[in-house]
Amino acid sequence: MKITLKVWRQKNGKDSGRFETYQLNHVSEDMSFLEMFDVLNEQLITENKEPVAFDHDCREGICGMCSMYINGRAHGPWEGTTTCQLHMRAFNDGDTIVVEPWRSAAFPVLKDLMVDRSAFDRIMAVGGFVSVNTGNAVDANSTLIPKEDADNAFSAAACIGCGACVATCKNSSAMLFVSAKVSQLALLPQGQVERKDRVRKMVAQMDAEGFGSCTNTGACEAECPKGISIANIARMNREYLGAAILPGN
């Protein structure tokens, strides 16, 4: 296949950036999207140009590092798929593909397609955990957890923290990410003790990071590579309201 790529190039956070157009003449449909970028970079290096910087690591759709906005959609056209798992058979010979970084005030661009998502870590650091020191735990089977709760908690916990939700949301809201963690722990008995404190702190940090607010467009859920449901957002809203209104910490 022949593919034309329009890729966002930006030297660093201070540079204003621009699109560059590249032509690839031998793209196989068995390639992953990132393997196509490997080919592009190899070509650029041969031409003595600087290769495109992009985040990637596991290339099996679980580490959450890859992050490209492809033809106007986070992670490209396939549903439930990260950029690294997107394969070129999703495109046609002669296609032009526009590739941009995640765009959000809270995710500043570092270079080309790489952005800084450390805001997510800071949100996690204020409450995305159960306070249990190593060695304090009781026997794992001493707490019964209904299968349905465990399964729902797992579905929320499957979030890979890639930031596609923020990238997709017209408001750059991080509600899906935050609510996935809040939900996971709210659904499990282990999370009950710190339940209210957790949601208050995580939401406060989320707001402080400069994410927009949620307007329930559902775009995040539609583009989430792990299919995290916006039912989690409703749950977090409920948790948050409860934490503010009901007595107790």
Partner: protein, 261 residues
């Protein structure tokens, strides 16, 4: 910071107030709709005009109406403020965006739709509410024979005024007389203006699309969109608020334009 003030300052808290005011406005729409259906009664507007008096004099309704004005203002101002802030959360826009692939356009254009509705509300209020309250609307005298139900109406002289908004008395034992400001007439005259009719139609589309997303969204923001009754919330949102109510309101100008000219 207390938990409550933290709530109101948070993004979630602000959304909660948006949804509460929004749902309150939805409930008003239902009342307003039911009341206005009296325009179709075919009694030369007696019921409608009487209802208008009730709505502007009943202390409970009056109090509620101030709450309503405040809600409209808050919902509009805060909504626009939030929309502006949300835009700032993405300083550099995407060169290419395929938002239709992941969300309904109504959900992404609540600010625009809301602004259209706000403009409409201003026109609507100055046309009718302000006119009724501060302008000069002539009175009409309705005479009803209670035995036969026969109703006649006659316009009062333009310089006629009365101390009460509604004068009601019996003539003999079988004739009831009601003299009231004829808002109905004002309505039917206004809706002869094709421009205004079109404005109302456009506004009702805006209301429809705004509520198509807004009604369901409010429940999501309040965290009560549980799976079990997501379906019913959606049904009410679409059939009730995005279709029935705007259609009902839209029928009024059309009715006057086409059938009461």
């Amino acid at each position: 910071m207390s938990k409550i003030s933290q709530l109101f300052n948070s993004s979630i808290g602000q959304k909660v107030i948006m949804s509460l005011t929004g749902l309150f406005l939805c409930s008003f729409l239902v009342i307003h709709m039911i009341g206005n259906l009296q325009l179709f009664k075919g009694d030369s507007g007696m019921a409608f005009n009487t209802y208008a008096v009730f709505m502007t004099t009943n202390p409970l309704i009056k109090t509620t109406s101030y709450l309503l004005y405040a809600s409209i203002l808050y919902h509009a101002v805060k909504g626009l403020w939030l929309a502006a802030r949300n835009r700032k959360a993405r300083p550099v826009k995407y060169a290419m965006s395929q938002a239709n692939a992941n969300s309904h356009w109504t959900s992404r254009n609540m600010g625009v739709l809301g602004t259209m509705i706000l403009v409409f509300i201003v026109v609507h209020m100055s046309d009718f509410w302000a006119e009724y309250k501060f302008g000069h609307i002539p009175y009409t005298k309705y005479t009803t024979n209670i035995l036969t139900g026969e109703l006649t109406s006659e316009a009062m002289p333009t310089d006629y005024v009365q101390s009460k908004k509604l004068e009601e008395y019996m003539v003999g034992t079988d004739t009831k007389v009601v003299i009231v400001k004829d808002l109905y007439k004002e309505v039917s005259e206004e809706f002869q203006n094709i421009g205004l009719v079109l404005l109302y139609l456009v506004a009702m589309f805006a209301v429809s699309f705004h509520l198509y997303h807004g009604f369901q969204s409010a429940f999501q923001s309040l965290g009560i969109a549980y799976d079990n009754y997501k379906g019913i919330i959606k049904a009410i949102g679409i059939w009730g608020f995005a279709i029935l109510i705007p259609a009902g309101f839209a029928a009024m100008p059309l009715y006057f334009y086409f059938f009461k000219s």
